[in-house]
């Protein structure tokens, strides 16, 4: 299966702008399905972006973040061709990671 993470990171001046879209149901645990059964909570708990061994973005997420979340931020440093490592872990212990090149 294709990665659940889409990333685009671009340098302009001394900052790198990062956009990411992550495919995840982000079930809050408060919603019922058509049969009236609670859909168990299933959400990303931690999301990290690493650049050159340094964590440039760390998010501790909970049930309130929407499905297929989108993140945008920028950090100082980063150069064309550098690797940006993205990793998430959800409350069921599932993880996914990908490495993107900064352009």
């Amino acid at each position: 299966m294709a990665s659940t993470i889409r990333v685009r990171a671009t340098v302009s001046g001394d900052t790198t702008e990062v956009q990411a879209l992550i495919q995840h149901p982000m079930d809050s645990g408060f919603v019922k399905d058509a049969q009236g059964q609670i859909i168990p909570a299933h959400f990303i708990q931690q999301l990290t972006f690493e650049h050159g061994g340094r964590t440039v973005f760390l998010a501790n997420w909970g049930a309130a973040v929407s499905k297929d979340p989108y993140v945008k931020f920028s950090f100082k440093g980063g150069a064309k061709g550098d690797d940006l490592k993205i990793n998430w872990m959800d409350n069921k212990g599932a993880t996914d990671s990908t490495t993107a090149k900064i352009s």
Partner: protein, 288 residues
């Protein structure tokens, strides 16, 4: 005094009744069904109402009407929320059925770049065939169970087919067949008929009030509204097909929705697509 008043009222009612009869017979005179003239008038209504909106821009719905929303959308489009669905659609489209055939075998040009020709009038069947319907017929003809018309699988397939047709102008044809003209006319009637507890017609929102707010949303113009389908609705946290959109529109006005792909909805889609002829396909779209 009292009796006199009643007498006068009765006369007034009588005169009113006669006038109403005259008016009714004038209205009942058989109107020629003229889709080409309708489409011209329909498009002129919108271009007159929104002289600042470029014609091709009507396919962008509320974004053509609201500057703030447009800015947000342009940013969103750099990383569109329908991307996952599009990718899934591409994969499913290329995956063969159990019998080895694919969707491409069911459609002209392998199914690519043809969205602008749907719905069309099938003269053999005597009915309107939409893209969603054609996709499920393709599945059934190849021994597969049909998809739900309102769920993600169908949306991802139509998303992919729309994506391959982006920029191509809607080219809906109404053959010179009384049944086709009737289907068009039925769709038009459905569009303009008020229904539901709120007594709304499709036109109440999408002809009379595009650009206005309904709660927090900005209403899209009916012109070009199907060009952007299917759409990722942030409100739905997911994709929606044309069927899903129509069913939801009906229930939001507190009317009883019809079955997806019922004759009425097919005719409605035929009418709405026809009057948007010339506007480019822009789907899949993203809406708040």
């Amino acid at each position: 005094m009292h009796a006199r008043h009643i007498f006068l009222s009765a006369i007034a009612a009588l005169v009113g009744g006669v006038l109403a009869c005259v008016a009714a017979s004038a209205i009942a005179a058989p109107d020629k069904i003229d889709p080409a003239a309708d489409a011209k008038a329909f498009q002129k209504y919108f271009t007159d109402k929104f002289p600042q909106v470029k014609f091709e821009d009507f396919v962008n719905g509320p974004y053509s009407m609201n500057e703030d929303m447009r800015k947000q959308w342009e940013e969103k489009e750099q990383f569109p929320p329908y991307e996952f669905s599009l990718e899934a659609g591409k994969e499913v489209f290329a995956t063969p059925f159990g019998n080895g055939k694919t969707y491409a075998d069911c459609f002209p040009n392998g199914g690519l770049g043809i969205r602008q020709n749907y719905p069309y009038f099938d003269e053999k069947e005597g009915k309107v065939v939409t893209l969603e319907l054609a996709l499920n017929r393709c599945r059934e003809a190849n021994g597969e169970a049909p998809y739900s018309y309102v769920d993600d699988e169908m949306a991802s397939l139509t998303a992919y087919m729309a994506f391959t047709s982006r920029g191509k102008p809607f080219d809906i044809k109404i053959p010179n067949d009384p049944r086709a003209l009737q289907a068009y006319e039925n769709g038009k009637r459905y569009f303009y008929t008020r229904r539901g507890q709120l007594n709304f017609s499709c036109a109440t929102c999408h002809v009379q009030s595009p650009g206005e707010r309904i709660r927090a949303e900005v209403l899209a113009p009916a012109l070009g509204i199907l060009n952007a389908m299917p759409i990722y609705r942030s409100e739905w946290s997911g994709m929606g097909t044309i069927s899903r959109r129509l069913v939801t529109c009906n229930s939001q006005t507190r009317a009883v929705p019809l079955e997806p792909q019922s004759d009425e909805y097919r005719d409605l889609e035929y009418f709405l697509s026809y009057v948007s002829n010339g506007l480019p396909i822009s789907g899949p779209g993203a809406r708040p």
